[in-house]
Symmetry: C2
Subunit: 239 residues, 2 copies
């Protein structure tokens, strides 16, 4: 029943009749249009919401109705995380995939054409590294800055799909990373090492040394997951 | 409201209390357990269904209830396709990402350890190439065999996440490929060229020539999308 709404939206998006920012017709309108129940329309809207394709508004006034957005990373990240939870996607394979994509992407980011956008992103990346330098920065903010730093670098490579997948993989492994970090006795030392890696990656990118940026990125991810796997003493069900 | 069901399932999957193949409690039970409406439970189940995490059964007898599965590719492929439709993910970036992952994966597939599984997959790949050799094979079956061939090779590389993403990217671009092929005046010649590429990729993989397998794969994807883009005469809104 509800799939008719999904197919209808895909067709309208493809033809350009509906674009990001537009409001979908209300539930009642769609239900009448397709001859289905309002509950079925609502199920379709929930699916679109979960996939990062609409933002549902609350309320039922004249301004009610879902707005079309396009925020694939959060949705794909959640889906990947759930499939990791089912044991069908091993954490090791997620990490290997991040390595493959981020290493390639670091190389491209370092050697990308000089543009005002690149300069702005590198400036922001330098600020994040500077913020992470502070040993008093709470762990939670360190992790947030860390994630932002990687996503910024990925954006420099200029491939929206790689950026989306990298961001999704990162979101899919956040739980794993946080659990791991919480269990590390030597976390303060680990944090200093990670931060040293960030400085190396940033410097190589600023100085347009592609091979070095890729190698530093590879070392960063490999070192962290190797260290965590060792610390977990074969204790991890996913690995 | 419905998110409580999603969070509950994630926790149960992570702890191992619920696994693939298990049946979820019925709608009424879940609604009572969480103090939410049956409509909200149904919305959660629909989302899980759309994400390839459950297969809903029809009917309402004692056997009703959703079965936990894990089929990420179809769900992620659909989501990527929808985000391509919103214009937030350019087709060009999808193709570049496929290139990056499939090239790497072709190299690994060619050099992977000899196992009975590898021999079986290569045997199946050879059958597919053989089937595509027949000029009378209908186009639809040619495309299906083509897709299966690529997914089989990807599986040889042994990374479930890369395999899932490649399969999702492929599903996200199927519509584009079919439209393109339908518009190509010289499709019979294109089909022969693609088939020649398949033979080269297969041979390099069988003979464990990693570099050659990767180069043949790269040439295959680049050639097809380059040729289609030229044929489309800048006519494509996504590219």
């Amino acid at each position: 029943m509800y799939t008719v709404v999904l197919d209808w939206l895909e067709e309208r998006l493809r033809s350009g009749e509906i674009s990001v920012g537009d409001k979908l017709p209300g539930e009642r309108h769609l239900a009448e249009e397709f001859g289905i129940s309002r509950a079925s329309v609502r199920e379709a809207i929930r699916i679109l919401d979960a996939m990062g394709l609409v933002r549902s508004s609350t309320g039922s006034g004249p301004n009610a109705g879902a707005i079309v957005i396009s925020d694939p990373s959060a949705a794909l990240g959640w889906a990947l995380r759930m499939h990791v939870a089912t044991r069908s996607l091993p954490v090791r394979d997620l990490v290997q995939t991040r390595l493959l994509l981020e290493t390639q992407s670091a190389h491209e980011a370092a050697t990308a054409a000089e543009t005002p956008e690149r300069a702005a992103a590198l400036g922001r990346a330098a600020e994040l590294v500077e913020a992470m330098e502070d040993p008093d920065l709470p762990d939670e903010r360190f992790h947030a800055a860390d994630a932002q730093f990687h996503i910024l670098l990925a954006s420099l490579a200029g491939n929206m799909v790689v950026e989306t997948i990298m961001s999704s993989l990162r979101q899919a492994t956040i739980g794993y990373v946080q659990e791991t970090v919480a269990g590390l006795e030597d976390w303060p030392r680990v944090r200093r090492t990670l931060q040293q890696h960030h400085r190396e990656i940033l410097l190589a990118t600023q100085e347009r040394r592609g091979e070095d940026a890729a190698a530093a990125l590879q070392n960063h991810i490999t070192w962290f997951f190797g260290h965590s796997a060792a610390a977990r003493h074969e204790d991890d069900r996913h690995d």
